[in-house]
Symmetry: C2
Subunit: 304 residues, 2 copies
């Protein structure tokens, strides 16, 4: 099961964190953008080339510290197909370096279309009878608003192609409660979604007792995390909101089970932009590594 | 307001339909795939080139019949960045032919990330202080599960860049009810979402009384459509489910208001694959046109 691959990497590195690669162009150190603009113009191509150089330098420094990277698709799509090409190239680069690669796409659609998304990110495209992987991620995020038939193509890809997914349950943003906290009978929507996640994850349980169908649960709502941890004991949690969104180590301990497993904590801006605090943009990758190490130590200390 | 542009095209062509360009490779006539495979290999590149040829031939025949085209992003992402490049090229081609272009991406994320998606599809990417459009659609679909701060970047793009969005309210797939039909107090989730759509659409009303924040409401649930039509009087409905998903003209009349406006009906497979019924794959584009004309006549007759 794919979730076992992630857990092994977390155990090996003694680090339940995932570094987010959400490379808005303004995060890229100026010496890189200047050089790429000079070579490729102040264009979507120039921007995309700069992002690729930024990403690969970060991965080089982070690959022995973190278990996984998470690429936020929006920051690649923003630069058009050239940005999406960099998404593809970054996935390959990170996998070559031994990292577990999550692509944060939050895709959702009716069954036939969800099958195409599963093909794009997890299984592959049927071209002349051969299955050719397009983006070839280990895992993606999905949105369950459409219900089971919109999720089945992804769970089938988990089973047949050794992949995992994380379904949005309680998101980290300020207005997530507008729908997600509303009560359906006795339970808020996020608990109803949690029960659906449990159902989708049945039959996809790996050797550590966790399912390949995980859940996105924001670090910014630690009390709800506690409730959801109990309600989805077998779901691995992908936890955004640590760092730049305001949550600290104390806020994420609720996401873990007593076995010390069950969650992978994401930090994006705090790692990528660590150099803005040190003021040394030339050594941006080293600053990112230092922040990732600090985060690892902080979280492992909080877990005790 | 962008919604007025769509409405004018619907009035000009006396046709409230949108042709879906969801080009799974198996929909492309064999003479095209054979030629592209020969030239570019049985690869993602070969597949993407075949899809571009298919799309442009369809657009040539459809552009004086339909008001709009809707590109389902999944069927481009399936072929990797090369497929996404074809999405980009198809958007440009369709706009050059005077069509209103909706990209069906169902994107959703926290505010800062939603801003990147709005940049990618509607407003543009900031590169060296200039705003460069990446995909440059007129409109996209979005998923409102994350609430207002995940939607605001899109409504801002509607206001500042003359665009529109369609928010998923009640989707056309069989299991859409698992979450969407559950009751929050007296109202099902889809009505709660409808009320949010009304709120998001305020201040974005055009000259015909419709908002640039529309709603996706499946043709496969005509009774719910009737309820939602009343609940969101100013929202334009993007209605999937006609044709291959089983709904007919009688099922979509509920989506319209008494002014004969208020809805745009999508058909994808029935138009793209019309040639599979005639058996004449060489004239696939003509068959698509005939089906689009038939659909127009059927719907305008049902509207009376």
């Amino acid at each position: 099961m794919s979730i076992d691959v992630l857990i092994k990497k977390i155990k090996e590195k003694n680090n339940p964190t995932v570094a987010g690669l959400d490379p808005l162009l303004s995060y890229v150190p100026e010496h890189i953008t200047t050089e790429c603009f000079k070579k490729y113009g102040e264009t979507l191509e120039g921007a995309s080339k700069a992002i690729y150089r930024f990403n690969t330098a970060l991965i080089d420094e982070l690959s022995d510290v973190v278990a996984a990277v998470k690429l936020q698709s929006a920051y690649y799509e923003l630069y058009g197909w050239r940005g999406v090409k960099v998404l593809d190239e970054t996935v390959r680069y990170a996998k070559d370096k031994g990292l577990y690669v999550i692509v944060d796409v939050k895709r959702n659609d009716i069954g036939s279309t969800a099958k195409a998304y599963a093909g794009a990110y997890l299984s592959g495209a049927d071209v002349g009878g051969k299955l050719i992987p397009a983006f070839g991620a280990d895992s993606i995020t999905v949105n369950g608003y459409l219900g089971t038939d919109g999720i089945t193509p992804f769970t089938e890809a988990c089973r047949e192609h050794k992949k995992s997914i994380f379904v949005l349950v309680k998101t980290s943003n300020p207005s997530s409660g507008e729908l997600q906290d509303k009560k359906i009978g006795e339970s808020p929507v996020y608990e109803v979604m949690a029960d659906m996640v449990n159902g989708w994850g049945e039959g996809l349980i790996g050797e550590y007792g966790y399912s390949c169908v995980g859940a996105v649960v924001g670090a910014t709502y630690p009390e709800m995390q506690k409730v959801l941890r109990k309600r989805m004991p077998k779901a691995y949690f992908l936890v955004p909101g640590y760092g730049a969104q305001g949550a600290g180590a104390a806020d994420v301990v609720n996401a873990f089970n007593e076995d010390g497993l069950g969650a992978v904590i994401n930090s994006s801006r705090a790692i990528m932009c660590a150099y803005k605090k040190t003021g040394d943009s030339v050594n941006f990758a080293r600053a990112a590594r230092d922040e990732a190490v600090r985060m690892r130590d902080e979280i492992t200390a909080a877990l005790g």
